[in-house]
Structure formats: C-alpha cells, structure tokens
C-alpha cells in the first residue's frame, strides 16, 4: 500500500540547511493502522507532508499503491492537528465536508448526501448547517475526520489529530478512528507524540529518533480483542509496551531544545 | 486685421447651417466679468447665430488650460495673464476669441483693515498682501501701484494667496496687512468690517486695464473658424448690451450668490466690444516689465480672426 524508501528531506532556509528527516524506510500494508511517535521537532510532520506530496523529498521516494508520489495523489486525505485552521470558517460544516468531492465532479445533491452520511458516522448528525466555530473543539476535529471519510481515501494521514482536544474528547476520537478504520478498511498513518495513544490505537508503533528523524524501532502491538479505554490501558501488555516505547523515545538522550539548555537541570538534581 | 469679424454680423446667415460645430462648451466663473456671456445665453444671442452654448463653471481658472487642451472645453473665459504666460511657455497654442472685461474705477482695489496705519501704497513696503492668485494680474496691479509710490514689492515675499471669500477673515484677523480684491468683495469688505480702500488700481498705467477674455486653442480655431466667428458675433452683441448697467445688475444675482441689494451698489468694469491687439499688448508689456514673461510677446499673433 505505502512504500517509503530512503526518504530524506532537507529544508533550505536563509539561515542554512536543516535536515528534518533522513533515510526513512517504512512500509505499510493495506488496512493497517500505523502510529508514528518521536520527540518534538524530529520531523514527523515533514514525513507526513512528503507522503502527501505537499513537499518534495530531497532524496528517496514514496510509493502509494505502487505509484510514485510527486503531486498530491487523489486517493489520499489528510487530517491536520489544528482543526481550527484546517476547516474553513466561512463555510458551513456540511460545505466543508463536501468541498473535496468537487474534485471528483460529484453533483451537488450527491455531495450533500455523502457529506451528511459522513457527519452522521462521526456522530455529528444534524449539525451540517452550523459553522465550524459554533462547535466545540472535539466536534470540529470530528468534522475534519468526516471530511476525510467522505472523500473515501485509500490512505488517511493524521498529524497529531488529537493534540489540542481535552483528554475526554481525545479518548472518544481515538475510538472513533478505530471504528472508522473497521468500517471502511482504510489504511491509516497516525502521528502522535502521546505514547499511550500510539499503543492504544496502533497495530504497529514506529519510533523516530530525534532530529534528523530516522526509524529507531517498529514495535508490533499485540493487545487482545477490541480496544477499550479503561480495560486496555490496564492490560499488562499495554503497560509494558508504553514503557518500552517511552524509553525508546526519550532513552537515546534528551531531545533537542532550541537554546541548547539541558532539559532537567533543576528538576534532575533535586530528584533523589 | 486685428478687429473681430463682428462688424459684418448682419451679412451672415443666422441659421446654424455652415457652422462646423453647433454645440460648444464654454468655461465660465461666477464673477461679474462674465455677465455678458450670461446675458447672451439667457437672451438667446447664441441661438440667433445657430450656436448652442453649454456653460461649465471653473473652480479658479487655473484648470481652464488643461480643459481647453483636453477638449473638455471649446472656449474658456480666463484672465489674460494666465493665457499669455501659458502661450509663452508653449503649454497652449492660444487663440483669443473675444475680449471680456477691463478694469474700471473701484473694480480692483487695495483694502486694509479699519484701524490700519497703512494709508497709501507707499506704506506697503515689507507688508504682506493677500491676492487671490500669485504671479498674476492681482500682484501686478499692486506692484504697479507701489512702484508709482516708489515702493518695490517682491512677487514671492510680499504676497500670499487666499481665495477672495477668505479675505474678510484674514484681514479682520490681521493675518495680512492688505488685500487686493475685486467686486463684490470690495463693497462687501467695507460694509462688513469697515475695511478702508487705500488705492484704486484703475488709474495711471493700469487705468482701463484689460483683465479677461475668451480663448480657445489654435487647433479648435483652425477646424471651427465659422463656429468661432458665430461666437464672436454673439459676444459682440452681448458685450454691447452689457453697457446697460441695469441689465448687468439684474443678471448678476442669477448666476452668482451676490444678493440683488449688493449687486446694485457694485462697481462694474467695462465690457469691450472689439478685440484690439494694441490694448491687449499693454498686458503683455506689463507682464514683461514685472517679470511674468521672460521674453517679449506679440499679442497680435494670438488673436483669432475669422477671415484667416
């Protein structure tokens, strides 16, 4: 389904070049839900943007269903972290959801039908006529997910989709993604910096190193049965996996911070 | 060769046939000077020549030149100083079509506030004098008067520009020492703030001084000689009619905001009926003398004559 080989991206700016991701190899089978975790600034978003064809990789290539990506492929949808910025405030919720279908030359009435169905699926029946800013954060993010679902992509990319919603809503949305995956058999690549989340939703957890990001581990998640917020998180395997992933993410050494300050200067020594 | 074709008016057909253009736009201003033009329009003198004249008000006269050039106006009222210097600077290919207005006693006067120590142009040395347009006929009239009293005034240092309606405020507020005003402002100033007239410019070298006329461009004159001749004929009749003071007094309140009561007591200048090169040359010579022209200007080249 998705094949990434030797992907490297270097940003060239006024202040010199910065390699964000380096020689990433990764393959995702159809129907899989792969989570990518890594320290802040390690290049997760850069990786996603390269897959989506929004930026051109410096080296390496990305194949989706065997076709090399050079411009945005049309069997792909992206859910961005910042729902308040990726939804268009001048359109109603239903218009937002149906907008991508214009590319498929779907008729107006059909567009509307598909949009309302997608909204219903994410639990937003009846709000199609409202504007995004009239909804709570969680509902906005669901709208963004509905937009992606309505488009029926073969591959859905999600960049920290629950980073800015509260914990409660976040758990609901995690379950929603699992349900959507089951319902449509989509392939999903989900980026997060929450290790718990990655273990909870993922079939596999791919850990990236600090900048420039490379793959340091690819952990299969073998948790029994359908996931359930409370029971699953109490499962010993879950606790083990999250500890392992946690050690992998932070273990190598402290992730970089702009001013080069050590991260635990004060808290560290005082912890006996 | 210099007189207009007005003499043989009656010999020409009075119908519109034969005119290159029967509808012309004429620039005008809400001032006493254009009373004959207004009479001509009202009394249908243009119509008798087969002409339809549309009047277009000008703000200050400065924009007459570009309006003539762009064709927005076919003929425009304007003062000779402006016309001649535009012509001398080659900005406009000028043809004067008809004479309009000349000064007469009390039409152009120098006024000072009621309690001013200035009593004659001799006291104007180093003073600030308001005129409506600098480097124009106003400053020239004042400088001629001052010269006669042995006082030299500088075009840039002694004059400031204010619109006539503001002169009351600036005189009253002592923001200027004196002002050169035309009618009705001279009459109004003495009525409202008791301003004193210290000099009437209509004497000596500037007596009966040609002030303004009607002009067009050389291009228009070449293409529309018959139309302009018709205009001249109508204007001659109008200017002659304006010799009757009652007619002028009667029409002034119709196109200006001068009240009828005031109009009756105004000093009214002369409305010459012929276009006389010798008379107009006086203006050009004074301009040369007072530095408003860099070179001599031969006015007779600038006059439109239908026979040419």
């Amino acid at each position: 389904m998705l094949e990434i080989a030797g992907l490297t991206h270097t940003y060239r700016g006024a202040r010199g070049a910065h390699t964000a991701v380096q020689s990433i190899d990764l393959s995702v089978a159809a129907g899989e839900l792969v989570c990518i975790v890594g320290p802040s600034g390690c290049g997760k978003s850069t990786l996603l943007r390269s897959i989506a064809g929004l930026i051109r990789p410096t080296a390496g290539r990305v194949l989706i269903q065997g076709v090399q990506v050079d411009r945005t492929p049309d069997n792909l949808a992206v859910v961005f972290q910042d729902y308040s910025r990726s939804l268009f405030p001048w359109m109603t919720v239903a218009e937002n959801v149906s907008l991508p279908l214009r590319r498929r030359s779907v008729k107006r009435a059909a567009r509307r039908r598909v949009a309302l169905a997608a909204l219903e699926q994410v639990g937003l029946a009846g709000v199609g006529g409202k504007y995004p800013w009239e909804l709570s954060g969680g509902m906005q993010q669901r709208t963004a997910i509905a937009r992606a679902i309505a488009y029926r992509p073969a591959l859905m990319l999600m960049d920290e989709p629950f980073g800015s919603v509260d914990a409660q809503t976040r758990e609901d949305l995690e379950d929603l993604v699992l349900a959507v995956r089951r319902a449509h058999g989509m392939t999903i690549l989900l980026i997060t910096h929450d290790i718990d989340e990655s273990v909870y939703v993922g079939d596999r957890v791919v850990v990236l190193s600090k900048s420039p990001g490379t793959v340091v581990a690819d952990l299969p998640v073998e948790l029994p049965g359908p996931r359930e917020q409370i029971a699953t998180r109490e499962h010993p395997e879950f606790v083990r996996l999250r500890a392992e992933a946690g050690r992998l993410v932070r273990g190598r050494s402290a992730p970089p911070e702009p001013a080069g300050q050590g991260r635990r200067i004060s808290a560290g020594p005082q912890t006996p | 060769a210099c007189s207009s074709g007005g003499g043989d008016t009656s010999a020409r057909p009075t119908s519109g046939s034969g005119l290159e253009k029967t509808e012309i736009t004429v620039g005008t201003m809400p001032v006493v000077d254009v009373a004959p033009l207004q009479l001509a329009v009202r009394d249908g003198l243009f119509g008798q020549e087969g002409l339809q004249v549309k009047l277009q008000p000008l703000a200050g006269g400065a924009e007459a030149i570009p309006k003539l050039k762009s064709g927005a106006l076919d003929v425009s009222f304007g003062n000779y100083v402006s016309f001649f210097s535009a012509s001398a600077k080659n900005v406009l290919d000028l043809k004067v079509v008809a004479d309009g207005f000349q000064s007469a006693p009390k039409t152009h006067v120098i006024m000072v506030p009621k309690d001013s120590p200035i009593a004659s142009p001799a006291d104007l040395a180093g003073k600030t004098i308001a005129v409506n347009t600098r480097r124009n006929v106003g400053t020239m009239l004042v400088r001629v008067a001052a010269d006669a009293h042995g006082v030299k005034l500088d075009e840039d240092d002694n004059f400031v520009e204010f619109p006539f309606p503001e002169m009351e405020a600036v005189l009253k507020g002592k923001k200027v020492d004196a002002a050169l005003v035309v009618e009705p402002f001279g009459t109004l100033l003495s009525q409202s703030i008791g301003a004193k007239m210290i000099w009437d410019t209509a004497q000596g070298p500037t007596a009966d001084f040609p002030i303004a006329g009607y002009a067009t461009t050389g291009g228009f004159a070449k293409e529309n000689p018959k139309t302009l001749a018709a205009f001249q004929r109508a204007m001659v009749k109008a200017q002659a009619a304006a010799a009757d003071r009652a007619k002028v007094v009667e029409i002034i309140p119709k196109y200006t905001s001068i009240q009828s009561g005031v109009a009756g007591s105004l000093a009214i200048g002369g409305f010459p009926t012929s276009l006389n090169a010798t008379r107009l040359q006086r203006v050009a010579d004074s301009m040369r003398e007072y530095g408003l022209l860099a070179e001599d200007l031969n006015v007779s080249d600038l006059l439109f004559s239908a026979s040419r």
């Binding site: - | 900005v91 840039d156 200027v176």
Partner: protein
Amino acid sequence: MACRTDGRPAVRGRVAGAVTWTAGRLWLAVLLVWLWERVTTQVGEAYFPPPSEIVATGRELWFSGPADRFFLTEEAVEDFGPSLLNLFAGWLLTGLAGVALGVALGLSRTFARYVEPIVHFGRAIPPPTLISVFLSVFALGTSMQVATIVFGVIWPVVLNTMDGVRTVDGLHLDSAEVFGVRGLRRLRMIVLPAAAPKIIAGLRISIGLALILMVLSEMFGSKHGIGAHLVDSQRDFEPAAMWAGIVFVGVLGYLLNAAFTLVERRGPHRHHLARAAT
C-alpha cells in the same frame, strides 16, 4: 547563496546579496521610469515632460546650491524647511492627541458609545471645506497648516489606537491583575505596549496622509513650501517644475515609509509588530 569557506567569498557573497536585494526591489521602478521616458519623449506633451527633464529641473531648482549647504539651493531651504517642519509638528501633535483620545475611547466603552460616531463623522469631512474654520482659529502661517494636517490625519491614529486598546488580550490583563500591576503602571507597561502594533500602524498610515495634507495646506495662504511650489508652477505653466514637486513628495513619502519600516524591524517590539500588518 555563495559558499562561505573563507573570508573573501563571504564578503563577495554579502556584496552579491546586497546587489540582488537592491535589484530585486528596483527593477520594476527602473523599468517603469524607462517606459515613461520613452512614451513622454515620443508624445512630447508639455504637461508630461520626460523623467530626465523632471530630474534636471528638480536638481536645478533645489540641488544645485553651494557644497557647504549640502548643495541645497536657497529655494530648497525655503520650500522644504517649513514643509518638513509643519509635517513633523502636525504629525507629532496628531500622534499625541490621537493616541490619548484613542486610549480613552478604547478603555471606556461608555465613553466610546458617545464619542465614536463623531470620530467617524470627522473622518469624512473634507479638510478643504474647513479652510475658513482653520483660518479664523489660527494665525496665518505655520499653525494653520499644522491644524490642517492634524485635523486630516488624527482619525486613523484614534481609530487604530482605540482598536488596539480594545483588543488587548484579556489574559494579558488578567496576568497583570493577578500580579498587582494596576493603574498607570498597567497603562504604561501592559496596555500601551500591547496596543503598540496597531498604534504604530495608525501612525504609519497617518504619516502618509500627513504628507498629502502638508501639500494641501500649503496650496493657499503660503509663500513657500512644496504645496505653494506646486500651485505656483501650475499657474506659471511649468510642468517640469510641477512634476519635480510631485516626484519630491513621492520620494519623501517613500523615505518616511522606509524609516518606519526600519523602526518596526529594529525596535524592541519587532516580532510583535511584524505580526500586525495594517
């Protein structure tokens, strides 16, 4: 950019950078001037002299003076001196009065409800219709010109300041309150800096307007100044001199704007200001 392995290429790189920077900014202006030159020379209309003639006239008028006066002619000193003085005096007064009124309007909704309509009202009054008012309020000369400038320019400063003060982040105000920053100190240390981007944007708009009104105010009742120069050259039918005046105003505007940009980029609030365009 060029490689910077040793000192010399670095210098060359910087020079090349400066050249690219300048060229990137100027090519269009140069192209337009060149086109203008071609067209005007071809047409030969007296009112549209070619740029070369305009520049020559301007130089002769203003910049052909003695070296010890920076080549300024007497005319230039007479024209520019009072003009610039009026400009800055008017602009400064506007800044003070506009910011003060704007702050008051921004801080008190009640006050604003009563006064804001007058502000929008005043903004639409054409200054030329108020000549007589200005004339009777102020003595001839400088102060009247300054008054015209202030009247025409104060509105954007008031409106922007009001807007800036009104939209100070509630959390900034709460933080100040929690840490006991109140009263005048709050105004000085929190409200004004927070509103600074909009206030500065208002001042920036206003300096452009001030330039326009400076010229306008000198068009009557003034012996010297750029406005008087423009009127005189129009009346004297010297289009090249008139154009030189127009060009001078344009260049002055450009320089003032550039100075503003510099203040914005270099000042302590640069980040904060960069975000607040207009």
